[in-house]
């Protein structure tokens, strides 16, 4: 019995210390360990944080009171102390009291929560509109007012390090699994409307520093807004299971001053134009393979794997497949990349002619596939026109 008592005492001390650490000094620990919700970078995220802390304090106080009474009873009302059990079995008064008090507490919590929710719901008067579309497994961002579209994939060093038994220490990758090849650039101080939707399955767009997440659902457009006050890079990731690449579709928001944002928009438009304008050029096999490897990593590797073997029964192998080896299948191969097939998405919209030419050439001349076939952007263009 003594041992038992000591264990109980140790455990209750342990619990008290743990909850004290957690509840009483969240800011200190937030910095050191990352164990509390972020206060974020927007007025809303601050309010969400405050609401979170309020409810945390409320339940902590209730917990201390209830568990306090319980432990008092456990220590004092035990048979080993020779007490005789009381006989009472109900008391209408206390039962009414402890029904009404919790009711009052939840009403007190619900009022500020309702107000906050109403503010989060109001997307009116936004100055910039972004549409975020979830794909398996990447994000597409349409800057509606600018007519600008960018795709955002997991950064290449994270792709390498995240392969099973890659031998690469994740710590060496820049912001492992939370870094993209292209960031969503947004201006600070503007009310930005972010619509979410999806192309294939349900995803969820979540950057904790903005204070919310929202599902991206095929066939639906969800409406949200944010005003980012502080310049900086804010990271998040997909928050709804969306298949095997669910853990590998990060979101990076780069908040910059208005002027820099405008410059970035112009620059990106020019860059995208030149990217799409190499469609009438011809490339060598080596050039196409080099470019194709990057395209493969960003778009194909998640399913077809780094070794081109796919996953048996789910994702077909490219290495050694007739589609990627026989000369007469070249048109079918290009067609499948553009328009998709079964669970394979259509890449025609996401990739330029030269991207598709490069990746098709790459897979036809990599691993055991040694066809020597060279596909040029104009072949892709011709396939699109058919």
């Amino acid at each position: 019995m003594h041992l038992n008592k000591n264990i109980i005492r140790f455990l209750s001390n342990f619990t008290v210390i743990l909850s004290a650490l957690f509840f009483l000094s969240p800011n200190i620990l937030h910095a050191a360990w990352g164990m509390n919700m972020t206060q974020g970078a927007t007025p809303i995220s601050h309010d969400v944080y405050n609401m979170h802390m309020t409810s945390l304090y409320v339940v902590t106080v209730i917990g201390i009171l209830v568990f306090g009474v319980m432990f008092w009873s456990i220590f004092h009302h035990r048979k080993s102390k020779g007490v005789k059990p009381a006989k009472f079995s109900h008391s209408t008064t206390v039962e009414v009291i402890w029904t009404l008090i919790p009711f009052a507490i939840i009403v007190a919590l619900a009022i500020p929560a309702t107000k906050l929710l109403a503010r989060m719901d109001d997307t009116s008067k936004s100055e910039i509109t972004i549409k975020a579309t979830g794909y398996q497994w990447k994000w597409k961002y349409d800057y509606i007012d600018e007519g600008l579209t960018i795709y955002s994939n997991l950064a290449s060093d994270s792709v390498d390090a995240s392969q099973r038994n890659s031998g690469i220490d994740p710590k060496t990758a820049d912001n492992y699994l939370r870094n993209t090849d292209t960031a969503l650039v947004l201006p600070v101080g503007k009310k930005i409307r972010i619509m979410t939707t999806a192309n294939d399955v349900i995803h969820a767009w979540w950057v904790p520093d903005l204070g919310w997440k929202r599902d991206a659902i095929p066939g639906f457009i969800n409406d949200n807004w944010t005003v980012i006050n502080k310049e900086g890079v804010y990271r998040g990731q997909c928050a709804e299971i969306c298949g095997k690449g669910h853990g590998y579709m990060p979101i990076v928001v780069k908040a910059v001053p208005e002027k820099e944002y405008q410059a970035w928009v112009e620059q990106t438009k020019v860059a995208l134009n030149s990217k799409n304008s190499d469609g009438d050029k011809d490339f060598t096999l080596a050039e196409l393979k080099a470019k194709g490897e990057g395209v493969y990593k960003a778009n194909c590797l998640a399913c077809h794997q780094a070794n081109g073997q796919g996953i048996k029964g789910v994702f077909p192998a490219i290495d050694g497949s007739p589609l990627a080896n026989l000369k007469e299948n070249i048109p079918a191969h290009i067609h499948q990349v553009i328009y998709g097939k079964g669970n394979m998405p259509a890449f025609g919209e996401q990739l330029s002619d030269s991207d598709i030419a490069a990746v098709v050439t790459f897979v036809r001349n990599n691993w055991g596939n040694k066809t020597g076939h060279v596909i040029q952007p104009k072949d892709v263009l011709a396939a699109r026109k058919k």
């Binding site: 009873s73 009302h77 994740p170 997440k213 659902i217 095929p218 299971i241 095997k244």
Partner: protein, 531 residues
Amino acid sequence: MSTIAHADHDHHDHKPTGIKRWLFSTNHKDIGTMYLVFSLIMFFIGGSMAMVIRAELFQPGLQFVDPQFYNSMVTVHALVMIFGAVMPAGVGLANWMIPIMIGAPDMALPRMNNMSFWIMPFAFALLLGTLFMEGGAPAGGWTMYPPLVLQTGKAFPYLIFAVHFLGISSIMGAINIIATVFNMRAPGMTLMRLPLFVWTWVITAFLLIASMPVLAGAVTMLLTDKYFGTSFFNAAGGGDPVLFQHIFWFFGHPEVYILALPAFGIVSQIIPTFARKPLFGYASMVYATASIAILSFFVWAHHMFTVGLPINGELFFMYATMLIAVPTGVKVFNWVATMWKGAMTFETPMLFALAFVILFTIGGFSGLMLGITPVDFQYHDTYFVVAHFHYVLLTGAVFALMASVYYWLPKWTGNMYDEKLAKIHFWLSTIFANVLFFPQHFLGLAGMPRRIPDYSVQFADFNMISSLGGFAYGISQLLLVYIVIKCVLGGKKATGQVWEGARGLEWTLSSPPPYHSFTTPPKVTKALMEY
């Protein structure tokens, strides 16, 4: 103490022996035993999947399994634990205890009882068989959201039919319980004298009958969407992927209480026994349980706050969800008031029951926080949610089941279990369950989504702690098996009364009870049930 029943009836029986005793059993105790053993096996199968998950999450980077298989583990772990471990354990306890607690010879529908058990091994053969199929087991999460679930390969129809069979089994079990309680109570066993465990099970049975057909409808629509060209959930065909979530959670939230209410009942039996004092507020316990059950049908969309509901919908579901805290609070206060001024002793069932009260309440606290819609936009689909529902289901429902096993094991076997080992099992379970799940609150708040096989390095420390807790918790459960086997094989003989402070009909029978529990209905008096 009355001395009502005796084993003398047994030799008039022609009970089958050997394998036939189990295959063709219509005896509530044998079927109850089969349910409990089945549940224990599933607990270990589901648990080993959890070990795979924790091993992969032990450190950042991908070490052991591919993301697709990881997703399968997450999916099948949940299905096995919910439908294979916790629900059958509850039904097993109901089978064993309800006839004894209400003074009946057996369940009202013994043949159906046999069938509802024997469906389950087949259902799980379908489900677990998919692990060995080309393309692997279902990997879209146990919630089976379309369109993702429609990408499942050959495993898809097996998943759907496994769910159908499990639903049929549960509904038959529920009908049996309702029929038994309403028709077979001994004279004097009025409704308001029913032990709380029986009450919570009657209410659970109604929840099952109301919610399981809804799930069956939802998965049938998935089946026709996949194979027969319908577009219930396909936006491109005019359907609505969110509709599935509404239907699923209309089942899914009552399901949470299907897992939790029998646990409430168990704890309400155990605390009075070891406090040697009547349950505080019996009537309010019954009403609170019923209110929770009714409210559980009006809160489903709190699982869906981020799908983009209209604000009025979100407000309604937020208020309804927070309201559940009131009857749940009443139950916790009543348990504490039952302890107050009692004369407590701390045998293992009581220890598990006390841990249940504290840890389930912690899960309730995070549940209240999750119910606050604007903040849920941050919590949703993170490890904060994972921590929440494991506090409610593991240190909640499962701890109550452990408590019940220790509480009734002497009654079932006629032998006392090894108290010293059982206490070690309790402390190991309690400490490591907290090491396992408490840090997951931090992970979720710091921004780690659930259902990911690999994570950013900032989450490494707490994941490692959580995994270590997980392995230790998993290994500790082997002790339970050892204790149970040891107790079945022998040990100090248990009296009929077993526990000094126990009240109710089950303690008036011998340990183990006779084959047909009560062949002559006992007379239930007020004195029998009270202190």
